[in-house]
């Protein structure tokens, strides 16, 4: 079975995000890019499928700072092939990215494509379902469990409240992963360093970037930030009275 996993790097929310001088995009100067958490789960799910039933796992990622580490870490977990797509991806929307990787994914002839169900910087949909449109493959998202047998896959789709729908999906198909069946495994730094010496990352170039379909942003801004709590002081009686007042204001009493 041939599994292709798409991995994206997204802004790390631990760092402070600021808007650049144009007022329309994120300032990239201090931006730290890390692997999209859901793509990390997609990688884990792919490796699990390989461990269970045998498969060739290829990880495809776009060339952004930090991508080599992401790919070598995937190799250390068990990925067989690593492909990096080169191009200038700053400010490029998901429609363009989906079109850019269509050719490579087609060439790989996957049975199953796994990718994270969403990324924190998505403004024009997510990569998975967009690619499904380009490749005319079925797409199901919010997946938390996958099994494959005889050319068909069974996927567990999550709904709110913990409800799960078990679906039969004909392959080839794209699945948007919400959570792998186990949390992404840890890889020792020494193992990743070893992969850097022994694995190779294949390179492909993206054909021109076609952004049609994405929105035009006229303004990016930060919502009003909260401030430190208003502190209530006094005796227990006084504080309790103030709290009851607040409860009343909020309509619960």
């Amino acid at each position: 079975m041939n599994i292709v996993i798409l991995a994206k790097l997204v802004p790390d929310l631990v760092e402070e995000l600021t808007i650049d001088t144009s007022g329309k995009a994120l300032d990239t100067a201090w931006l730290r890019m890390i692997i999209n958490e859901f793509d990390d789960h997609a990688i884990e799910q792919g490796i699990l499928l390989k461990e269970r039933g045998g498969a060739q796992v290829t990880v495809v990622a776009l060339d952004i700072e930090g991508v080599d580490d992401v790919l070598f870490t995937a190799a250390a977990k068990g990925a067989d092939r690593l492909i990096k797509i080169k191009g200038d991806f700053v400010g490029v929307n998901n429609h363009a990215l989906a079109r850019a990787i269509t050719g490579v994914v087609k060439e790989l002839q996957p049975d199953l494509v796994l990718t994270g169900v969403q990324a924190n910087n998505d403004l024009d949909g997510s990569l998975g379902p967009l690619l499904a449109g380009c490749l005319e493959m079925p797409y199901v998202g919010y997946i938390s469990g996958v099994s494959v047998a005889e050319g068909k896959s069974k996927a567990r789709k999550e709904y709110p409240g913990g409800l799960i729908a078990e679906l039969d999906v004909t392959l080839p198909a794209i699945l948007g992963i919400q959570a792998a069946e186990q949390p992404p495994r840890y890889v020792a730094v020494s193992k990743v360093r070893q992969m850097m010496k022994t694995s190779t990352i294949e390179e492909r170039t993206a054909p021109g970037l076609d952004m049609v379909g994405g929105p035009t942003i006229s303004r990016m801004f930060q919502p009003e930030t909260g401030q430190r709590a208003t502190m209530l002081t006094g005796s227990p009686e006084e504080v309790a009275t103030k709290l009851v007042g607040i409860f009343k204001e909020l309509g619960v009493l």
Binding site: G141, L163, G176, R228, A229, T230, L253
Partner: protein, 329 residues
Amino acid sequence: MNQDIYVVIEHLRGQVAEISCVMLAGAHELAKDMGGSVVAVLLGHNAQGLVGNPSASSGQFLAADKVLYIDHPALADFTSDAYQKALANLISRDQPRAVLFGSTSIGTDLASTLSIKLGLPMISSCRSFSPGGKFVSQICGGKIMAEGDLPGLTALVTMVPGGYKAEQGMGTQSPPITQVETPALESLRVTLAKYVEPESGDVDITKEPILVSVGRGIQNKDNIVLAEDLAKALGGAVSGSRPVIDQGWLTTTRLVGKSGKSVKPKIYLALGISGAPEHVEGITNSDTIIAINTDPVAPIFGVAKYGSEIDLFDLIEVLTEKVKQSKGG
């Protein structure tokens, strides 16, 4: 092309999802600028009844100017392939000004693929619309907002909750229902095998309007009853942070935080909780957080709206008493 705003109604096992009403509210806002009607698009099988009783609140109807209803056995339960094909037909035929989808397990299975398939522009994570036909979307965990003009063709938009209240999308009149021609839905590549029910536990803290939450400061199991008394008086439930669950003073169904649940009560009263990030992660959707902690540098004060350094043991019984009095009990 018309100036109508279409809203794809989401429903699951006979219940209309709250996001549908939020989207209808948004659609009305947008329709003011666009000049068209708000059209609810309902796909299902023998599902006309869903137009009334949205979110199981009786006597309420979907607040739309009209409903377009597509009936087919393959649409009885949501599956991406069937719904996509049905919607593709409808959107191509009608070419509305915009189609709103939920940014959910249902909506996100549809919008992006339709965007490519039909060559239509798409916007995701939209929270609200502002005057002049503008959308406002949120990204990066809500830390960044992006605004722009609604694109000129039929715009496909996925919406997140937060900008409108569901009540604004419910009405007292039943809108007229027009049944649309049933499309051919064959060779479907995604089919439903079965549903798997979630585990039922005791209280579902994610549904409680008021949570009285305890941390290490509660000190021992015997003191939990103080929190229970207060919760009962307020009409809520007790939850806790990790150390309390670790100690076995509360069951894991009450755990709030990274390894537990994300809660969104009206009031989250944190007693003796320091506010470590793993816990705070689970409470950021609360309407109002009130924190009681004797430690002035407890991180919880950075996310709470109100706080007090008073000792929770000095406060709790007095507070319970006052709440009871206020309710006349």
